[in-house]
């Protein structure tokens, strides 16, 4: 489509014809009075929360409650879960028959004793 220079300006002839075709027949003043008659009603309706407004609050409310529940669950889990043992504590030898046998034996230990002591440390 190529714009003609006249395409950037209103066409007075067409505009006048269209205006005449669309001009309301009723009294202008009557229309103004009709709008103004509903002035107070429109403002009242705007200030009273309607069901629509309450419904619009409902969804964010549900979302906020769900978010609070998830946050509570995560915090609770963090508080109740025991802290992991330190590295030294994890490697410290534990008491047990395997370990005692290994320490007190006169002879070199049997492979099964070494294995048992290692398993007990875990």
């Amino acid at each position: 489509m190529k714009d003609l220079p006249s395409d950037f300006r209103p066409d007075p002839e067409l505009g006048a014809a269209l205006r005449s075709a669309l001009e309301p027949k009723d009294d202008h003043a009557a229309f103004v009075a009709r709008v103004m008659a509903r002035y107070d009603q429109a403002l009242d309706r705007a200030t009273i929360p309607t069901l629509d407004v309450l419904a619009s609050w409902f969804r964010p409310g549900i979302a906020a409650a769900a978010a609070a529940l998830i946050a509570g669950f995560l915090i609770g889990r963090a508080v109740l879960t025991p802290a992991p043992a330190s590295f030294d504590a994890a490697l410290a030898p534990l008491e047990g028959p395997g370990l005692a046998a290994l320490v007190t034996a006169q002879d070199p230990p049997d492979a099964s004793v070494v294995f048992t002591s290692l398993v007990e440390q875990r």
Binding site: A17, L18, L22, D26, V32, M36, Y39
Partner: protein, 184 residues
């Protein structure tokens, strides 16, 4: 139409609770709002209902109006939306074929009825156009809004407005030329 500063002052007074100021705005824009609504809806009674809805909707939204911008396009956007909503709700859009006598070929009108017949033909031709196209041409050629302002009112790109006005004018100018030819 009043100046932008004047409109902004009236809006400020209305927001402050001045009922008379809103009355001046309604008085000032009633004709335009009714024509734009009629361009969307076709039916004059539906159009007046939509224009009224638009004014009252604008009244409760006035606090959102940016006074640095012209008031007319802001109001016309609300009116056009009110008209479109009403059309959707009532399903008033009917793909009615044009009456053959309105398109042409009917009896030659007498001098008294000439003007009214042109109006009938134009309304029928407008009804044939897609809603956006007829609203755009009315806003441009009747109400004098710029392409950019119409783009803001209809929520479409400026290039689309130019295209819609172009196509609407082509159809309506043909009809106007035919009518003038017949009237000779």
């Amino acid at each position: 139409m009043g100046s932008s500063e004047d409109d902004a002052a009236l809006v400020a007074s209305t927001v402050a609770g001045d009922r008379a100021a809103f009355g001046v705005l309604v008085e000032r824009y009633a004709g335009q709002a009714r024509r734009v609504a009629r361009a969307v809806l076709g039916d004059p009674d539906d159009a007046d209902d939509a224009a009224q809805d638009g004014f009252l909707s604008a009244l409760v939204k006035l606090a959102q109006y940016d006074a640095r911008r012209p008031f007319g396009p802001w109001l016309m956007r609300i009116v056009a939306n009110a008209a479109t909503d009403r059309r959707r709700r009532r399903n008033v859009r009917r793909a009615e074929p044009l009456d053959a006598s309105l398109v042409g070929g009917g009896p030659r009108p007498d001098a008294i009825a000439v003007r009214s017949e042109l109006g009938e033909r134009l309304r029928a031709a407008l009804k044939e156009l897609p809603e956006r196209r007829r609203t755009a041409v009315v806003l441009f050629d009747v109400e004098g809004y710029s392409h950019a302002e119409i783009a803001g009112i209809l929520g479409i790109p400026e290039g689309t407005v130019r295209s819609e006005v172009f196509h609407a004018r082509r159809r309506l100018r043909t009809l106007l030329a035919d009518w003038k030819e017949e009237a000779r």
